[in-house]
């Protein structure tokens, strides 16, 4: 069996560039022998001394990296900020866009509306993983080649406009309000702009019986959320009372939706009757996916507001 020193040398030299390997091996071997000799001269047992010396020298890969002046990080400080900004930018819209397109295509061209949400989520997740992987890989290669990117230096002109430390930006608030009003429009619109069924008749997606109480109630909650957006914009930041109201509104919306979905009361029963795939368990799948999405969005929204309130309080 080869000695520990031989094994240590082999492990260290494996990743050192070949031209320097032989000379480095000899030098390192002599250094290790010197260190062992020094310890055995003090009365220590050779085997124990060898273990101690090699332990002191540490991980072979790390020593080799020091010899070859190699980085031991995936992405260092030189590229980290750029990597993070690019990744964030790409992840905010590419997976969502691809997901929405896939969902629309599945629902219309593929004519499988029940699978649309699931397909959209799965494709969006896959896209996110792909984007993250390839961006990170590119930067890891840049880090190793130390390629200069020739990017312009940072200047004070790049500082964001807002002088007051405003947490809630106008575009964000406008987008939220537009989204909320859009949701109200969809809730109302689906009753009139109905889905065409196979025999040409048109049916609302949601159970028309819900108009007696639940749909108006949900619309009121959505409109109250618009009020919250306005209050939040005027405050300029998340405050704890706003967080509490936000949590209540989320509960008031997600709670009934989840309950209606789980009791099979949200979708129009007539519509389910018309479609074989909905009748044969498709409606349950739709309900299950919708419940998960609703709960996740609600929790996300509340958690996000709490984090931002804490940040603003600091």
């Amino acid at each position: 069996m080869s000695s520990l020193t031989d094994r240590y040398l082999a492990a260290t030299l494996r990743t050192v560039p070949a031209p320097r390997r032989a000379e480095l091996a000899e030098e390192l071997r002599a250094s290790i022998a010197d260190m062992i000799d020094d310890r055995t001269a003090g009365g220590q047992d050779h085997a124990a001394a060898e273990r101690e010396v090699l332990t002191e020298l540490g991980r072979p890969e790390q020593l080799a990296a020091r010899y070859s002046d190699r980085t031991l990080q995936l992405i260092g400080p030189r590229y980290y900020l750029l990597w993070w900004r690019l990744l964030r930018t790409l992840l905010t819209w590419i997976p969502a866009a691809v997901g929405v397109i896939t969902g629309l295509v599945t629902a219309t061209v593929g004519d499988e509306p029940g699978r649309a949400i699931g397909a959209a989520i799965s494709v969006a997740l896959q896209t996110a993983v792909q984007v993250a992987f390839w961006v990170t890989l590119s930067f890891a290669i840049l880090e190793r080649t130390r390629a200069p990117l020739g990017l312009p230096e940072w200047t004070v002109d790049q500082l964001p406009e807002e002088s007051r430390d405003r947490q809630i930006s106008q575009p964000d608030s406008v987008a939220s309000v537009v989204f909320l009003l859009g949701t109200v429009a969809v809730l109302v619109g689906q009753h009139f702009q109905r889905w065409a069924t196979d025999d040409g008749s048109r049916l609302p997606v949601l159970d028309p019986a819900l108009w007696s109480f639940w749909l108006p109630a949900l619309i009121v909650v959505l409109l109250a959320t618009v009020g919250l957006e306005v209050a939040k914009y005027r405050a300029g930041r998340w405050t704890w009372p706003l967080v509490a109201v936000n949590a209540l509104l989320n509960l008031a919306f997600a709670g009934p939706v989840v309950w209606l979905l789980l009791t099979d009361r949200l979708l129009n029963p007539e519509l389910i009757e018309r479609f074989t795939w909905l009748r044969d368990g498709g409606a349950d799948d739709v309900a299950r996916v919708a419940v998960v999405v609703t709960v996740v969005i609600a929790i996300w929204d509340v958690a996000d507001s709490m984090i931002k309130a804490r940040r603003a309080a600091r």
């Binding site: 030098e27 260190m35 020094d38 540490g58 020593l63 020091r66 002046d69």
Partner: protein, 113 residues
């Protein structure tokens, strides 16, 4: 009370560059890795073997040290010596060290006033 961790990091930062200075000074007299390590330790420069050995090779690549194999003793050893370029760089480094020392002294006296 400052934690030991914080203190250790600051001391490490302060010491980092001085190992190069110490090695360039010590290697005006040629020596091999482990002997240099011991000499530095004896003079209060506690440097790890896995830091010093790669550092010596790097300084050699940069032309600040020259090396020669000595095969006369019991085992062949690589002896390093400070080169002319190394001496020039060392001069600059020592000047800078003195300048830092002077600045700190002046600053301390200024604060005391």
């Amino acid at each position: 009370m400052v934690s030991d961790e914080v203190l250790r990091t600051h001391l490490q930062e302060l010491r980092r560059g001085t190992v190069v200075v110490a090695s360039l000074v010590a290697l005006r007299r040629p020596d091999y890795g482990y002997a240099l390590l011991q000499r530095l330790a004896a003079h209060g420069f506690a440097v790890d073997a896995n830091t010093l050995y790669p550092l010596l090779r790097r300084l050699e690549e940069q032309g600040l040290l020259t090396s020669e194999w000595n095969t006369e003793e019991s085992r062949p050893r690589k002896f390093y010596r400070t080169s002319d370029d190394g001496e020039t760089v060392l001069g600059r480094l020592l000047d800078d060290l003195t300048a830092v020392r002077t600045s700190v002294t002046q600053l301390i006296e200024g604060v005391g006033r």
